[in-house]
Structures are given as C-alpha cells and as structure tokens.
Amino acid sequence: MDETATKDLVDLVRRAQRGDESALHELIVAYQNRVAGFVFAITNRRDQVEDLSQQVFIKMVRAIGGLQAPSQFESWLFRLARNTCIDQLRRQKLRRIFLPFAEEHENIAEPAGAVDTEELDALRHALAQLRPQDRALLALVQEGRSHAEIAVVLATSVAAVKARLHRAREHLREHYQSNHEP
C-alpha cells in the first residue's frame, strides 16, 4: 500500500472511530471481498462466508473506537477475522461431540451452480487437508501480512512463524493436486 493510500485509510479509520456511518460503510465495502476470501480459506465453507464475514465486521464496528493505531487497521481487522473463524471452528468441533447428528447437517452438498474451477477445487482440497491454524497462517500471508505482524497475531516469535509457514506451505504443495484420489 503506498503512502497516499495509507493516509486515506488512516483518515477513513479516524472518521469511523468518531462514529461516522458513511466511513464505516466505506471500510466494509473496501474490505468485504478480502475478508470473505480469508474466511473461505479458513472454513472452506461457502454457506458460512456471509455469516462469519458479518460477525467480523460487527466486531469491527463495535471495537474500532478502541483501536489505538489507525495505521494498523488492516492487521487488526485480519486478527479479528482469524480469531472469529478459529472460534467458530472450535464451536463446531464441540457441537459435533455433543450433537453427533449435527455433522450431517453441516455437510449438506453445495447448491448447483457453485462448481469450482479445477484450480480453485485443487486449492480448496489442499487447504482442507491442513489444520485450521495453518490455513489461517497461509491466508494471513496471502493478505500481505508480514512475518512480524503474524507473530503478533499468533503471540509467538518471527522464527516460529517462519518455521510454521514453511511446514504449512510444504503440506499445501503436497496436497495441491487436481485429482482428489490418494
């Protein structure tokens, strides 16, 4: 992001912090596609993209007043998104333990017309083989987050982030095949 774009973003965030509805609207429009992609990469579920993206932005609207450094907005937003998705996956896991039949309802086939291209299908298949934490890590990198920023999000060191990222990329590459057969 260049200097002018960063300044514009900071101004927009400051306006949103003062409760300006149009600034909040602009921020959501500016980031909705990226957040949706991020959510999809972690959950791998189309039917949850809108709900989870909405949850992320509602949290953003409620908490943006407390954001100390508006220049860190992007990093902060994707941290919110990551935590929201991981919490959701944990809840689903718990629900599966206590309500074994719920799994059936969570695996409803996607509607016709939602057919992926071969490339996207391969990526989704590969992502589905990774742990949610690793999917989040790769998605954060795709969103342009630096190793240092990711280290802050995951409360770990930069070296640990690099090591985990290396492993996650290796696994992704291993599973990145168009054919789903083992």
Partner: protein, 123 residues
C-alpha cells in the same frame, strides 16, 4: 524385438498404466504449489457469496446489537434475579419452619396439659 526388450516394454506399460490421468499436471501442481491465480479465484468465489447490500446490513446489525442490552447488564439482571429467588426460598423456608415450630409447641402444650390432668386425677 528380443524377449528382454519386450519384457522391459511390458514393465513400462504396466507401470505407466498405474499412473492417474493428468499425472504430469498433478506433479507440476504439487511441485509449484498454488499460484496467485488460485488464491484470486478463492477470493472471487468467496466474494460472490456476499449478497448485495452486505455493508449496509452489517452497519444496521451492528447498530441493533449496540442498542440491545450489554453483557454486563444481562449479567447484572441475572444476578439480581438469582438473589431474589434465593431470598424468596429462604423466606418461605423460614415461614414453614416457624409454622412447624408453633404447631409442635401447641401439640406439646396439649400433651403436657393432658399429662398434668392425668397426674391430678391419679392423686
């Protein structure tokens, strides 16, 4: 073709028949990993899941959530309700205890009076 060459050919044919269709492309994919195009496709596919008017709906939902009761107020209301229920149970218990004591005392008084009467007549 001599028998040895034929045997090698058969071996190659048997081995290659074990390869899945699109093997070469699969190997290249696995070697290179997903390119930028795959991630762009993922993001586009996800963006298509958002219905029109998403931003306006989110702002409205956030305002509605902010206007509703906060977690702290809900917690306070729960605590007050629990305290009132406990007080009601204690009061009811005390009242029942007092009534039972009064009833027992009256019965004892009757027994004592009856015993005294028997004692007087006995003498």
């Amino acid at each position: 073709m001599n028998p040895e060459e034929k045997a090698w050919d058969d071996l190659r044919a048997a081995a290659s028949s074990r390869l899945r269709p699109g093997f070469a492309r699969g190997v290249l994919r696995a070697a290179r990993g997903p390119g930028a195009g795959a991630w762009v496709a993922l993001r586009s596919s996800a963006a298509a899941c958002l219905r029109p008017g998403f931003a306006a709906r989110v702002v409205r939902a956030a305002r509605a959530a902010a206007a509703g009761p906060s977690y702290a107020s809900q917690l306070a209301l729960s605590a007050v309700t629990a305290a009132l229920c406990l007080a009601a149970v204690l009061l009811l218990h005390q009242r029942n205890q007092r009534l039972a004591d009064e009833r027992n005392l009256a019965e004892w008084r009757a027994i004592v009076a009856f015993a005294q009467e028997i004692d007087v007549h006995g003498r």
